[in-house]
């Protein structure tokens, strides 16, 4: 099946089985390796991308549903050289350990801040439920609050 969608603002067209997970299309067909595979069961969040601005776990999202939609991956989070507040905060707080889960967390956080500009700890606990095997949750929480500050300063 031919599927057209926007990936990080660029029109793309793929010809694949319509039930192929969007994650595979992003990584293996479009060769964007920032989005990670962790579980393939919508359980860990490593594959989180934005679909029309909403956080979506792309391992559990058949590519046919991407038709006509705008997809954003970690590669499209920054504005050129300008880091997204989430990326900036992640750098400042030196969040990653091995780094594998981080793109998913950052995409989930960016989606959260679009809806809740000043999330409380409770908002973070309820919304950011991805899994990090290295246990970087403590630094992540600090980075989410810092990203909120940076984003609010910028706007």
């Amino acid at each position: 099946m031919k599927v057209d969608f926007k990936l990080n603002q660029k029109e793309v067209n793929v010809d694949v089985d319509e039930n192929t997970p969007l994650l595979w299309v992003i990584r293996d067909v479009l060769d964007m390796k920032g989005t990670k595979f962790g579980c393939g069961k919508a359980a860990c969040g490593a594959c989180t991308v934005h679909v029309d601005g909403e956080a979506v776990r792309s391992c559990s999202f058949a590519v046919k549903f991407a038709s006509g939609k705008s997809i954003r991956t970690i590669e499209g989070l920054s504005n050129g050289e300008d880091l997204h507040p989430v990326q900036q905060a992640w750098k400042e707080e030196i969040v990653p350990q091995c780094g594998y889960c981080q793109p998913g967390f950052m995409m989930a956080t960016a989606a959260l801040l679009d809806k809740i500009p000043n999330p409380t700890d409770e908002d973070i606990d309820k919304n950011i439920v991805n899994i990090c095997r290295c246990g970087t949750y403590y630094r992540m929480r600090k980075a989410i609050h810092r990203a909120a500050e940076l984003k609010n300063e910028a706007s």
């Binding site: 919508a42 909403e54 989930a108």
Partner: protein, 194 residues
């Protein structure tokens, strides 16, 4: 002449009594049919495939053992989840056979007023027939919802779980369920006293 009149009267009386009896029998039969339909319908309604998304709290349940949904998933204001953790974050318009995540159009939780968890089957029926709790729906609208809504009918095609094992279906087929709902509502949607 007198004998003929008496005979006519007896005949008329017999006809009236027999037809009265027929009506009574027909009514009893309808009542029985309606109660049977109620039982069939409620076998589906009370099944975990329906009940898991009609919780009494703010978290859905899931699985064959109806445990609280993993990750502390929350109902949110409109039953579609919260800011960065919506139902649609993981659930799409159809079952995903790769991930084992179930899906159907407008996947979401029933509103708080439609909480069924912990209620008996007659209490559940009262809740979904009461316009004050069912979102102002008439019996006809309830019938349409129960017999045509893709999310309701998902219960009969629930797909496979994360472990690749097919999810348990309600004990009654989709066709039997739809027929039962229609019979029960056509006969006045009477809820038995239990």
């Amino acid at each position: 002449m007198k004998f003929r009149s008496i005979l006519l009267m007896i005949t008329l009386l017999t006809v009236v009594m027999v037809s009265y009896n027929f009506n009574e029998v027909a009514e009893v039969q309808l009542e029985e049919q309606s109660m049977e339909a109620f039982g069939t319908m409620m076998e589906v309604v009370m099944h975990k495939r329906c009940m898991n998304c009609h919780p009494k709290g703010d978290q859905p349940r899931q699985g064959e053992d109806s445990h609280l949904h993993y990750f502390g998933v929350q109902r949110g204001e409109d039953g579609h989840g919260i800011a960065a953790l919506k139902c649609e974050t993981c659930h799409q318009k159809e079952n995903n056979l790769n991930s084992g995540v179930p899906g159907a159009p407008h996947w979401h939780l029933a509103p708080r007023s439609m909480a069924w968890e912990g209620l008996s089957r007659t209490e559940v029926a009262s809740v979904f027939m009461n316009p004050e709790t069912n979102g102002g729906k008439s019996p006809e609208e309830i019938e349409k919802h129960m017999t045509e809504d893709d999310l309701v009918l998902w219960a009969f095609e629930p797909g496979i779980g994360l472990d690749g094992v097919p999810r348990e279906k309600p004990p009654v087929s989709k066709e039997e369920f739809i027929e039962a709902v229609k019979i029960w509502i056509a006969n006045g949607a009477k809820i038995p006293s239990e």
